[in-house]
Assembly symmetry: C2
Homo-oligomer: 653 residues x 2
């Protein structure tokens, strides 16, 4: 990043050694010297670029945020599951269909776990997927336009938490229900949960050409809570692993009643076997309503289709496809190392980490050494699948990532630390405190065969005094550690927007060159686009009025419109005629009951306005676009409903 930073660091290092003012914790101290070394490591000078993208889930913002590493700067908030007044997502006519569900229009969700598409187990940077936890959905976002292109709803699901992770050639993006529910949904007493409610694990196929998603099948599982999941890789490719908790099947006071069992399970799913089963006609078609929403980059419009059927699979009908691995205790994350051998159960109420062996699991399955069954699904013996236990000394392990150099990094929520340990020896190598109460952590490519083990980002759940206070409500906080040495080194704290539950990182080189700059006007297929300002027009169709409007520095065409009446439904369809990078224009109409439109070069967006009162009402460009931006405005004359003022609009000279 900075050619001489090594030189300078060496120079500074000598100074530090001479003056003896190093600080192994990486925290600032009274001499501030090591802090300055860390300053260099996270500083990206004006005109230079970060090394990595970090895509952080927004959690309860419903969105996906894009950060740079090592600077910790937020480059964009991509609206996914929530209305976003900034750009008009979820308010514009084109994007409203993206938030349609079987429940109707749902303007919010809780986005949790982003995962970047892979080829041969390595990040390929085509798309990023993310789950909506509340009203179960999976979204696909383009890593060329950085816009949400597709959302698919998941029926038979509730609390879509063990999602969205991809198999190593992005054959599937996989999702699992956190809450079990009656399947199909029906009125029944809640206390009849046990034995009657079910969980579903959804396998959504991804078209390798265009990324389009299709809900290929759902596995109907016992009524546990399915918390997190990860794919097998390399030798374990073809398997998928899900943690469970509440194997007690409690329906009330879960904080007590779902913590009774010493061990819950990791469910191991041989999805290749199930895929073969359904490809051969297996599975049961079940009526189900779920939305499938697709955004078309050429028309700039989304459409929502309601699907009516889903293919479900009873695991008991596919012998050899599903097994349970006993795992202490209410395991949260399940993480697979880059070789595919180690299946790490982060038992959140346990002090130790349980590491299962894929090879031993296969051997135990082949030897049919079971320890009973749960609802007909074979339970493997704990000792037969265990690879080892990490005596971490921490409390509340949640998640583990990998550096590609044989080390694993596990977060501990209760003892508030990241612990580095070796994947061969199970020995703890280093531990560093987090401020405070870390949840997920992320190493770029950490969920792939090829991690980029330079930094780890800890995503902390409690912020308190890390930043200047901002009243009772605070942003969450991330911490960046350098992991190039034996010991982790805390470099920086940076606040995060929403509540990031997980992040996916990728080297900048893999994405930046193919980032789209503009939409080509000559490829715009929006039905209400105009290709030149001269084609702008206003067309009345009963009480509906369609304004075909152009915007180009520094003018709207038309900028004066008359003949609009109270009671009309006025659609403004606005095409941005710029073809230069980073020249958006915005459109806002006084008193509109929707948001603005932020329109990128070459794009068309539409907004509806229902004028309530006669008058002359202004609109204007909301994005400071040129020296004459303040002059980029216009007026609409609204006459009473019974008026005979004719339709009239200005096209300029």
């Amino acid at each position: 990043m900075k050619k001489y930073s090594t030189y300078l660091a060496t120079m500074l290092g000598s100074f530090l050694i001479l003056s003896g003012c190093g600080n192994p914790d990486g925290k600032a101290n009274s001499n501030g010297a090591l802090a300055s070394s860390n300053a260099e490591k996270v500083y990206v000078a004006p005109g230079e670029q970060d090394e990595f993208y970090a895509f952080m889930s927004g959690g309860y913002s419903g969105n996906l945020t894009v950060y740079g590493l090592p600077s910790g700067r937020m480059f964009k908030e991509i609206p996914v599951f929530s209305q976003f007044p900034t750009s008009g997502y979820g308010y514009s006519e084109e994007t409203k269909p993206m938030l349609e569900t079987s429940f109707g229009f749902v303007p919010w969700d809780d986005s949790h776990h982003p995962d970047i598409s892979q080829t041969k187990g390595e990040l390929d940077g085509r798309w990023i997927f993310i789950n909506g936890n509340n009203t179960p959905r999976i979204a696909r976002i383009s890593l060329s336009t950085f816009e949400t292109e597709e959302i698919i709803e998941l029926p038979n699901s509730a609390g879509n938490h063990s999602s969205s992770f991809v198999t190593e050639n992005t054959e599937y993006v996989v999702a699992g229900t956190r809450f079990s529910v009656p399947i199909p949904q029906r009125d029944m007493p809640i206390n009849e949960y046990k034995g009657n409610f079910k969980g579903s694990l959804s396998f959504i196929s991804v078209d390798p050409n265009n990324g389009h998603m299709d809900l290929k099948f759902q596995i109907l599982m016992p009524g546990f809570n399915y918390d997190l999941s990860h794919p097998g890789r390399d030798k374990s490719h073809g398997w998928f692993f899900f943690t469970t908790y509440n194997t007690e099947e409690a329906n009330s006071l879960l904080e007590v009643n779902a913590s009774q069992n010493d061990k819950d399970f990791i469910a191991a799913i041989n999805w290749k076997k199930i895929e073969e089963y359904v490809n051969n006609g297996g599975g049961t078609k079940m009526p189900a309503n779920y939305a499938h929403n697709v955004y078309n980059e050429s028309t700039h419009m989304a459409t929502s289709t309601m699907k009516k059927e889903v293919l479900t699979v009873d695991p008991l009908k596919v012998p050899g496809a599903v097994y349970f691995l006993p795992t202490p205790k209410s395991p949260h994350g399940v993480d697979i190392d880059p070789t595919g051998e180690f299946i790490i159960g982060n038992g959140k109420l346990s002090a130790d980490l349980t590491v299962h062996s894929f090879d031993r699991m296969i051997a135990a399955i082949e030897a049919k050494k079971f320890d009973g069954e749960a609802y007909g699904i074979p339970i493997l013996k704990f000792d037969d699948v265990l690879a080892g236990t990490v005596k971490s000394g921490g409390l509340g392990p949640l998640h583990t990532e990998f550096d590609g150099k044989g080390n694993a990094y596990t977060t501990f929520f209760i003892s508030s630390e990241v612990v580095k340990w070796n994947l061969e020896t199970w020995e703890v190598i280093d531990r560093k405190p987090t401020f405070y109460s870390v949840g997920h952590l992320m190493i770029p490519g950490g969920n792939s065969r090829k991690p980029f083990g330079k930094y780890v980002v800890a995503m902390n759940k409690i912020t308190k005094d890390r930043y200047l206070p901002t009243g009772p409500e605070l942003e969450h906080s991330a911490q960046l550690y350098d992991i190039t040495g034996d010991k982790m080194e805390l470099l920086y704290d940076f606040p995060t927007h929403g509540e990031p539950h997980y992040a996916a990182g990728i080297p900048a080189d893999l994405l930046a060159p193919k980032s789209k700059k503009i939409y080509r006007l000559d490829e715009n297929e929006h039905p209400y686009a105009v290709t030149s300002p001269a084609e702008a027009k206003v067309v009345r169709d009963g009480n509906e009025v369609h304004v075909y409007m152009s915007m180009i520095r520094s003018h709207f065409t038309p900028d004066n419109i008359e003949g609009i009446k109270v009671g009309d439904k006025v659609y403004f369809h606005i095409t941005n005629h710029e073809q230069d990078f980073d020249v958006p224009h915005g459109f806002a109409m006084i008193g509109q009951n929707t948001s603005e439109l932020l329109v990128m070069p070459g794009q068309t967006k539409s907004s509806v306005w229902e004028p309530k009162e006669p008058g002359v009402w202004p609109f204007y460009c909301t994005d400071f676009c040129s020296a004459l931006h303040q002059e980029m405005q216009g007026y609409v004359r609204v006459s009473p409903a019974n008026s005979d003022v004719p339709l009239k609009f200005s096209l300029g000279e």
Copy 2:
């Protein structure tokens, strides 16, 4: 901030001098050495704090964002004029009234110019005000809770741009219309604009005890565009200054037709004289509908009231109250130096800056030396009020701020630079490029008698290649300069959320100590609050069901509810019983057609849910609150409309 940074900087400085690798532009170069010095200046080590708060308008996000300086980290996004799915602002029953207007519910606005309350011309850090540009509104935000407490709509206004700036004891927060419109609004041909449309300047009084706003009077002005404004201070306290453009009164093709006149005006308003006039019964009451929305911190609820009348003032009836100062050319910002003497017109189509003298203006008024009038308002002679002209060498001046040491800093949009010049000599001292096309700039306290001249932040309108690319849509970008020396030094680039049009900065010491940490549960007066989990209940009232729910780690009470029917309107009123700092809980119900609720300790929020289908539907906590957060969940059983399942809910045990 870092005690030894000076020492280290000196050491580094010596190194730089010896090796001759300094770079006066502050940009990284091949040796990276100066960059590392700048790295130290912006680095805030883990556990340390920023020196300044910077409150940046969100522009088309409708919000206000809080940053730290020098780090450039965003600490919070405060929802103001837009729905905010993250916290439920504008979706929760308590906050929906905040977005009511005379046009109905308006879920978005375009927030432009924040200003911090003042006492004796100095920042007092009690409140911050910001304008909604699109559907004219002014908001007041508490700097204790960092929440929006009040929004007042402005009638007779359109494009509320020359807002919101406070007088030096926060007697008034002042707003001005950008677009002139028919007053009162009525159906008329747009091309009859000239001579018929009017502009309004609004003076909103602020109660010194609680900040409550009241629209005291509006001055009805000629139909120009009123672009920006600033208060007089110290000796010019009692006056307010507004820039105008489109004095041509064009209604179409403004980018050409509003740029014809060589000079437009700065309007000088003697508001003390007008205040005296209205206090003595002057002015005309006019029917007008406008919303006044107030959030009550004890009940945690907002109420919206529709006002019916506004007091308008015809400036011709108050001799000596309003004058026009001719100013080249389409001036954008008008900025008053800390002494109150200099009135700087930033003529955006001019190369030079025009500086008027307050003393000369008063002398000219007393001598009655006028150069005609415009719609009856006296025009002062340009040469009589001019203090000097700054031959800047730049193009497109927009805004000027001050360092309190006799220097001014002006942004130039077209030549893309910040120019430092001396307020006595009018000489240019330094100029630095901005990347790219700077709009506003901000020095903490720059709009007061006492600026804190350590940093200037340039808010740039074009981002292009400053960060890793994120598709066609990019965040805007700010740049931080050190202004402690003779020459400005570019330290850092940081992206900004939304489109900041202006910012208000304040030393951390003045705010941080009084930032509220929790809401006290024993002060909660929400009508649906419960003071202990044992008081939780579910009450049916016809088709309305009210759930009085508590949340405390890690449990909802009740967590099982039965007897809800399709067709019911279910209100969840959720009280967070935590009393520790930074322990929010969230509440989300599957398929809700509103957002989540993020509830702070001691607070109550409500959400409405209308179940469509029978079934057993889950809800859960959306904020990772404890090791047993995943267990914080519950179920609602929904029966068919004609069901006789009785109301039932769990209270634990």
